[in-house]
Amino acid sequence: MAEQGKQEYWRWPEGTWVNPGIDWRKGRIITAGVDVGSVSSQAAVLVDGELYSFSNTRTGSDSPDSARKALSIAMEKTGLTVDHIDYCIGTGYGRVNVPMAQRTLTEIACHARGANFMYGPEVRTVMDMGGQDCKAINCDDKGKVLNFMMNDKCAAGTGRGMEVFADLIRVPVWEIGPRSFQIKKEPPMISSTCVVFAKSEVVGLLEKGVPENAIMAAYCSAMAHRIMELLNRLGVHEKFVITGGIAKNEGVVKRLEKELGIKTAEKVWHKPAYKAYPFDTQITGALGAALFAEAMVGKGKVKSVRKT
C-alpha cells in the first residue's frame, strides 16, 4: 500500500533556545516554570532571575509526559537536570499534571508577570490568546493582576478555531497571517463566531469559488472582532500586548489593532541586554511561572528542593 503522508497544517513549529552567556553552575537560584496548555507546552528556566533557556513543544495526549518533555528539551545538552532546580511551578490548563512542579499557579497571574518581564513595566493590558481560551488581563507596573476577563467556555476567537480553519483550507497556520493581506479588498467577515458554524460557512464560501486568501481575511477579521468584544468589556490601556499563539498571526493582530485604534507593543525584549535573544510570545506563561518561583525562593517564602 502506498505510504500516505499526513501533513499537519495547524500547529506552530516547535523550538528551543539556550542562553550562551550564562553558566548555570555559577548560578545561585535556578527556577523553572512549565506551562502545559491545551495545544502547546512551554518550559522556561531562570538562573538568578535571568532567562537561561526555554522550549516550546506540543502537548500530547499525556499531560505529565508533555510537561516532562518540555522541560527536558529546555535543559537539553546543558547538563542541567531536574535535581538542580530549586523550585518549579506549573501553570496553564494542565497545571495539575506537572509532576516535577512543587506548586501550581493560574495562568492569569503568570501571563501578567511574564508580559511585564518581556515587554517592560509599562504594560497595562495583556491579551492572552491560547489554544482554547482567551483572557484579557489588566495589570499594574509590577505585573500584578488588577482584573481580568476570561472566556474558556467556547472556542470562538481562540487558537483552536484558527487550527480547525487552517486544517480545513490546508494552509499552514503560519502562512494565514501574511496571506490574509494578499487581497484586493477587505471581504466582509465570517458572520458566525462559533467555530462549528464558521467552518460550514467557510465550506460554503469555498464552494462559491471565493479565493482562499479572501476567506482567510474574512476569518481573521471575525476573530479580531470577537476578541474585541472581550477587550471592550474589560477596557484596554496602553501599553497593550498580545501573548500566546495568535500573537504570531499578524492577520488577526493587525485587524484587531485597526478595530481598537491601539497599537500592540513591539515584539522586542524590554531589557536591553536581551535584544539579541529570540522572542517567542508563547513562552510568557512559563516565564511568568519561573519568575514567581524565583521571587518565592528569593524571599524565602518557600524552601528550595534542590537535590544536588
Binding site: 499557579l105 492569569i108 500584578k144 476577563m149 467556555k153 467556547c154 524571599k299
Partner: protein
C-alpha cells in the same frame, strides 16, 4: 482587584465577582453557601501576597450559572446568602440572573 469567576455565553454574563481588596478571608460566605461553591484559599492571582481570601471553587467556575441560580432573585433569598453574609461587602453577582429570573 476584582476577581471574576464564571463565564459569558450567548445569554449573558454569569459571574461571581469578589473584590480581593475588601475580602478579609473570614470564610462566612463559604459557610452559608448551600452549594459549597465558595471556598477560602491563597490569593491565586497575587501569590506573593500570602493573603487568604474567598474564591469560587475550581470545579464550579464553569457551571456557576446553574449552581448559583437557586439563590437568585425570583427563586431564593434577596440578597443572596453569600452577599448577605459578607461583612466587608466584597461579593457581587453579575446582573444576568436578575435580568432573566426576576419577576416582572
Amino acid at each position: 482587584m476584582q476577581a471574576f469567576y464564571g463565564f459569558q455565553d450567548g445569554s449573558g454574563d454569569w459571574f461571581i465577582i469578589i473584590d480581593t481588596d475588601k475580602c478579609n478571608g473570614c470564610g462566612r460566605c463559604a459557610e452559608v453557601c448551600p452549594a459549597q461553591a465558595l471556598g477560602v484559599g491563597e490569593d491565586e492571582l497575587d501569590p506573593l501576597s500570602g493573603k487568604h481570601i474567598a474564591c469560587v471553587t475550581e470545579g464550579e467556575r464553569k457551571k456557576i450559572r446553574y449552581t448559583c441560580a437557586p439563590c437568585q432573585p425570583g427563586y431564593g433569598e434577596e440578597p443572596p446568602l453569600c452577599v448577605a453574609a459578607c461583612e466587608p461587602r466584597a461579593i457581587f453577582h453579575s446582573e444576568a440572573w436578575r435580568q432573566s429570573f426576576a419577576k416582572k
